[in-house]
Structure formats: structure tokens, C-alpha cells
């Protein structure tokens, strides 16, 4: 299982706010465990396309889909992801909620993606 970064160098590790279709509404990359300034360059893009979630894209996508349709408020899972060239245990922690967008209340997911320290 692996998740790769794309050619443009968008790092996977970070905090994301997504809508239920996977559109990135907010992104704050991590350097190690340090949160950097918000990155607006990928806002509006699809998470799975912007970060080129390759071989296991469906796994992550299905996890997200199942989580959104579940009653759980928090969920997490661990997979093998790439940090540049090295394979590292990566943890995705998710919580869901709502936010007003325009006149409507829209479902959103907050995803925290970090190296997993077992």
C-alpha cells in the first residue's frame, strides 16, 4: 500500500478540510510535526487528484466515503505512504462536521495526515 505525492511536489502530510466530494477547502502542510502556513495553491482541487493518491487511492477514497456515511465522529487508519523516497507509516485521522457555504449547511471532513509514530 502506498500513497505518493505528485510531480508538482505537493506533500501529503498536512491538515486538510475537504467537502464530501474530496474538494480541498483548506490545507496546512506539515514539516515533521510542525504546521506550516496555510497553502492556498491546491484549494478547489480534488484531494485525490492534487495529491495523486495512486495505488491505494481507492483505499483512502473508500475510507473517506465510509466515514462520511457512518455515524462515527472520528476515525483513523494507518497505511504505508511515501515521504520523498522512503516508505513510512502514515496515519490519517478524520473528523466530520458541517459548515455554512453560501446559504447551505455543507458536510465537511477534517483530515490530519502525519507520519505514524508507533
Amino acid at each position: 500500500m502506498k500513497v505518493e505525492n505528485n510531480d508538482a511536489g505537493v506533500q501529503l502530510f498536512g491538515l486538510y478540510e475537504l467537502d464530501t466530494a474530496g474538494t480541498i477547502l483548506y490545507r496546512r502542510p506539515y514539516e515533521g510535526n510542525i504546521a506550516l502556513a496555510a497553502d492556498h495553491s491546491v484549494v478547489g482541487e480534488n484531494f485525490f487528484e492534487a495529491l495523486e493518491v495512486s495505488e491505494n487511492g481507492n483505499l483512502v477514497r473508500n475510507h473517506l466515503k465510509n466515514f462520511i456515511s457512518s455515524r462515527r465522529s472520528v476515525d483513523s487508519f494507518i497505511f504505508d505512504g511515501f515521504d520523498e523516497t522512503a516508505l513510512v507509516k502514515t496515519k490519517i485521522l478524520m473528523t466530520r462536521g458541517h459548515e455554512t457555504q453560501g446559504d447551505a449547511l455543507s458536510a465537511i471532513v477534517i483530515m490530519d495526515i502525519k507520519k505514524h509514530n508507533a
Binding site: 462536521g97 458541517h98 455554512t100
Partner: protein, 177 residues
């Protein structure tokens, strides 16, 4: 004597002035015997927000969101820790997640509110139950506001900003108000 709405689905029960909202009541009103707790220095408060709850993952996600909004955050995983941390740090707000055990969560609030250091600290209860009985039980236990999960981040931000003081950051979830 303040009133507290138990039926304000898109509001946490607070108006813009940080008082409980008595407008648009659809059902019951409860008269509370104390004024709405809001810290005197709420507009400039540098004190941390204390997140209490037994779910480490929920505490972590709340911490991440609050830190994006610019708040300093402390976590307490159990009742004893919340009493100790609360007494030591004098938080501006207690955010209590009751998703694992609602009854224990309310007992935690009651105990915290008996501590001299924390009697005036506002407490927001997060619950997976939306029913009126849970909302009423939370308010009767000393909660200032009651929010239902999945969280409405605009609502949470409004609540936190009103009770603990606003922060300049408009980044992250819940910035549409």
C-alpha cells in the same frame, strides 16, 4: 437571572453579547439561577481552552482546529486530570466531549463547577445526542452551551469566540460567520 434556550439548533444558545438567547424559543425555556458565565476578559483572553474527554482522537482533532483558530489548548483525558489542569491553568473555557459516556461527562462538569477556581468558567458540552433531554441535562449540570455532533464548525467557532474571546485568525473550518 438568565434564560437559556434549549432549542436553538443553529445557535449555541448565546446571542452576540454572549448572553443566552431567549428569542425564537420553540419549546421550553429554563430559568437559570446564575448569570451566563462569560469571562470578564473574554475579548482579550490569553488563557487556554481546556478540552476534556476520554477519546484521545477527538481531543486531538478539536485541539488541531482550535489551534488553527489561534487558541492555546490543553487536554485532560479524565476527571482527575481536568480538575488538576483547571486549577493550575485557569482556562478561559472548558470544552467537554461526552461522546463516549454522556453521564460521566455531565458528572465531570458538575465536579468541575464545584471547584472554586472553575465555578465561573463557561463550559460547552459536545454530544452525539440531539434529544432535548440531553440538552436539558447538560444545561442543568452547569453547561453554558450544548453542541451536537457532527460539529457545526461555524457554531463551534461562534461559541468559542463568544465565551473565550475572539482570535484574529479566520483560517480553517467554520469561517463563514
Amino acid at each position: 437571572m438568565a434564560h437559556c434556550s434549549l432549542y436553538a439548533p443553529r445557535e449555541c444558545g448565546l446571542n452576540e453579547a454572549g448572553e443566552t438567547n431567549i428569542a425564537d424559543f420553540r419549546k421550553t425555556e429554563i430559568e437559570m439561577t446564575k448569570t451566563t458565565p462569560r469571562r470578564d476578559n473574554a475579548t482579550t483572553n490569553p488563557q487556554p481552552i481546556m478540552i476534556v474527554g476520554s477519546s484521545e482522537e477527538t481531543r486531538y482533532m478539536l485541539r488541531v482546529i482550535l489551534e488553527i483558530w489561534g487558541y492555546e489548548v490543553l487536554e485532560a483525558g479524565n476527571q482527575e486530570e481536568s480538575i488538576r489542569l483547571g486549577a493550575e491553568t485557569n482556562p478561559s473555557l472548558i470544552l467537554l466531549d461526552t461522546s463516549r459516556n454522556f453521564t460521566d461527562g455531565l458528572e465531570n462538569i458538575r465536579i468541575l463547577k464545584r471547584q472554586d477556581e472553575m465555578v465561573d468558567i463557561p463550559a460547552v458540552v459536545l454530544s452525539g445526542y440531539a434529544q432535548d433531554t440531553y440538552r436539558e441535562a447538560a444545561i442543568n449540570s452547569g453547561a453554558t452551551a450544548f453542541l451536537v455532533k457532527p460539529i457545526d464548525f461555524d457554531e463551534l467557532r461562534h461559541c468559542v469566540s463568544t465565551l473565550a474571546g475572539p482570535k484574529p485568525s479566520t483560517a480553517g473550518p467554520g469561517n463563514s460567520r
